[in-house]
């Protein structure tokens, strides 16, 4: 009898403990983000460091974002054509490609690509600085490590993500044109005119809102995982950094997709 009572109690205790620590972690991440965000605007400004990060997060991602954008657009063109042709409305291909890119695929795929390229290295770099006491050294020099390390990354992400997303969209639409018009012989005038007709400002702005949200999520999560590498229970030293990098990538990917759903339902 006691045992039967104890089991659900233990279960609730376990769940409760997990939930409390989860909420605590969320709070910690939120505080971490606000500290980092506020220091983007604290005097003296750090334009040099932000530009350096824009170069790393943004400029160096152009190649991969272009490639992914091109192939995504081309696949959309192919798939869209064969679906639409069943209804005899292959003329709508331009609208289908453009809308799915602008609203969904552009921001999401860009974010995923940047997570893989820049997010992982953010976590690793900050993580190594943590385990080799470089962050403590900043602390003892009276340099705020969050301001020094995290703020430029958040700032640079907020600048880079929308720009990369626009690049992705444009190249994706061009990819759709390649397969739709050049390969499958849809009239290019119809393709582009349909885009012009069907896309409204709200489609574009909702994509940008998403990319801004993803910028914040990715830069915060990746920096946070690296910054608190030493508090991980799983491993120390190099192992700790590798775990931090892995969880930075996994958590930000999942959060980007989850946030995408929430934002879509809010913005539609």
């Amino acid at each position: 009898m006691i045992k039967n009572q104890a089991l659900p109690l233990a279960l609730f205790r376990y769940l409760g403990r997990g939930f409390i620590s989860f909420v605590g972690e969320l709070g910690a991440i939120a505080i971490f983000f606000f500290q980092g965000f506020v220091h983007i605007f604290s005097y003296p400004f750090q334009p040099g460091k932000i530009m350096q990060q824009v170069y790393f997060i943004g400029a160096k991602s152009i190649m991969i974002v272009s490639l992914v954008g091109l192939f995504t657009g081309m696949v959309l063109g192919l798939q869209g054509y064969y679906t639409l042709v069943k209804f005899g409305s292959e003329g709508m291909l331009g609208a289908a490609v453009a809308l799915s890119l602008l609203r969904e695929l552009g921001p999401v795929l860009t974010a995923l690509m940047v997570i893989g390229r820049a997010g992982s290295s953010m976590a690793a770099e900050i993580g190594i600085m943590r385990i080799s006491e470089q962050i403590d050294a900043l602390d003892t020099m009276d340099i705020d490590p969050i301001r020094f390390l995290v703020s430029p990354r958040i700032g640079a992400s907020i600048i880079s993500f929308p720009l990369l997303t626009s690049l992705f969209d444009v190249i994706g639409i061009f990819g759709g044109y390649l397969t739709g018009c050049l390969l499958l012989k849809i009239n290019s005038g119809i393709y582009f005119n349909r885009i012009y007709d069907s896309v409204v400002m709200q489609d574009i702005s909702s994509g940008y809102w998403k990319s801004l949200a993803f910028a914040i999520i990715v830069s915060t999560i990746c920096s946070y995982q690296g910054y608190f590498t030493h508090l991980r229970s799983g491993g120390f030293g190099a192992r700790g950094v590798s775990l931090a990098t892995t969880s930075a990538v996994v958590i930000s990917c999942v959060l980007v997709l989850a946030a995408d759903y929430v934002l879509t339902s809010l913005l539609l």
Partner: protein, 414 residues
């Protein structure tokens, strides 16, 4: 010149959860001096340092900076103070993705509003002072360990701090580099005149450059004073710390520690009255050991003691006990042995010495240490005390063995 205290700890208590790390620490650090804190690993040395820089706050007690309590300082004052403190990490904690120049320049760039040209001048001045001009554009991983230490010190000094904290600056370095680092610290300390607080294990090297030494033990500071005061202190705890290095040597000789042997002698003395038993004490003195150490070398001198210790141990088996009594004296207790038995024992021992490698002239190819081993025997009686026994043994000293560099070991019979 009267010394003014720079940092004072007054009855500082620090706990981490259930564990007490500091239980009422009193410590004074004087301006312009090198203060060294020694203690066992995990005794709370780093915790103490972190209190000075404000990374940790005491649970009770007070810390005074230049006579003013930390607690009552405003945030701005505290910030002002923190800028005057630099910290040097054990592993240097250089920024490995920045060049040497950027590393040294970082504190100035981030903390001051100095124009870039002024920063450049100031950093280059420090870099030249530390002879790093050739590696200005290299990354920390591209330069040697000694240079990394210099970069770290240059970075710590570039903001002109009034106090620098060194967290085990020499741990894990070979003896040559160790001395280089210590002399570097001492040299620049004299030149620039900052206050230095050092946590170190390098006994006794570190005493040479320290003005003050504090021992942290059992959550308190039982001793603080000058290195000379430390050396002359009779406190067994203090002695234990100074002899840290020698105790390793004693372990190698296979001898007991002096307190252990004294205990044993007292025990034997108390038995004389009760059981009508007797015992003898033999004091071995290696003459000119100091000279050997100076002229031939530390290792040779150590080997001689070691050899004698091992011979004694082999010869005595489990019945007797020997201990290093002082630098060049070994004391042996022979239980159940009267004077003639002890003489016999010595004779045997001298025979064995003749064959030992350490006592052959050919062991020392360049400089041959001529030395004498003398022994004094005394038999204990019921009125004897520990002190009287040793005194008598000292007055009975006779040479039992002598290394003559041409003829090898000569044994004199007594």
């Amino acid at each position: 010149m009267t010394k003014s205290p720079f940092v004072e700890f007054k009855n500082v208590v620090k706990r981490f959860g259930e564990r007490t790390i500091l239980a009422g620490v009193d410590l004074t650090i004087f301006k312009g001096e090198i203060t060294t804190i020694i203690g066992k690993s995990g005794a709370g040395k780093s915790v103490l340092l972190k209190h000075i820089i404000g990374l940790l706050k005491p649970d009770a007690g007070e810390i005074l900076f230049e006579g003013r309590p930390l607690r009552s300082m405003s945030k701005a004052e505290w910030k002002q103070l923190k800028r005057r403190v630099s910290y040097m990490f054990q592993q240097n904690a250089l920024f490995d993705s920045m060049t040497v120049f950027d590393n040294v320049a970082l504190p100035l760039r981030e903390r001051t509003r100095m124009p870039a040209r002024e920063i450049h001048e100031k950093v280059m001045a420090r870099i030249e002072q530390f002879e790093l001009s050739e590696v200005t554009d290299k990354f920390p991983s591209q330069i040697s360990g000694g240079m990394q230490k210099r970069v770290a010190l240059a970075r710590a000094l570039v903001t002109d701090p009034s106090i620098i904290l060194f967290d085990e600056p020499t741990t894990g370095l070979d003896p040559l580099r160790k001395n280089t680092v210590l002399s570097m610290i001492a040299h620049h300390q004299r030149e620039i005149g900052f206050t230095a607080v050092m946590v170190s294990h390098d006994i006794p090297d570190v005493f040479l450059i320290s003005n003050r030494v504090a021992i942290i033990e059992d959550k308190r500071i039982p001793f603080q004073g000058t290195p000379v005061e430390l050396e002359q202190s009779n406190d067994p705890l203090v002695q234990q710390f100074i002899r840290g290095q020698e105790s390793l040597a004693d372990e190698l000789t296979g001898l007991l520690t002096r307190p252990d042997l004294e205990q044993k002698i007292r025990q034997e003395l108390s038995r004389i009255g009760r059981f009508q038993k007797t015992f003898s004490v033999v004091l071995f003195v290696i003459d000119d050991l100091e000279l050997i150490r100076e002229k031939v070398g530390f290792i040779a001198a150590q080997r001689i003691v070691q050899c004698l210790g091992n011979l004694l141990k082999g010869h005595l088996g489990t019945t007797g006990m020997s201990a290093r009594f002082s630098q060049n004296e070994i004391l042996t207790v022979l239980p159940h042995t009267d004077l003639s038995g002890a003489r016999h024992f010595l004779k045997d021992l001298a025979e064995r010495m003749k064959d030992a490698e350490t006592f052959q002239a050919k062991t020392y190819p360049r400089i041959c240490p001529e030395f004498y081993i003398k022994a004094g025997i005394v038999q204990a009686n019921s009125e004897a005390t520990l002190e009287s026994l040793i005194e008598q043994a000292r007055s009975n000293l006779k040479t039992i063995a002598h290394l003559e560099c041409t003829a090898g070991m000569r044994v004199s019979k007594s």
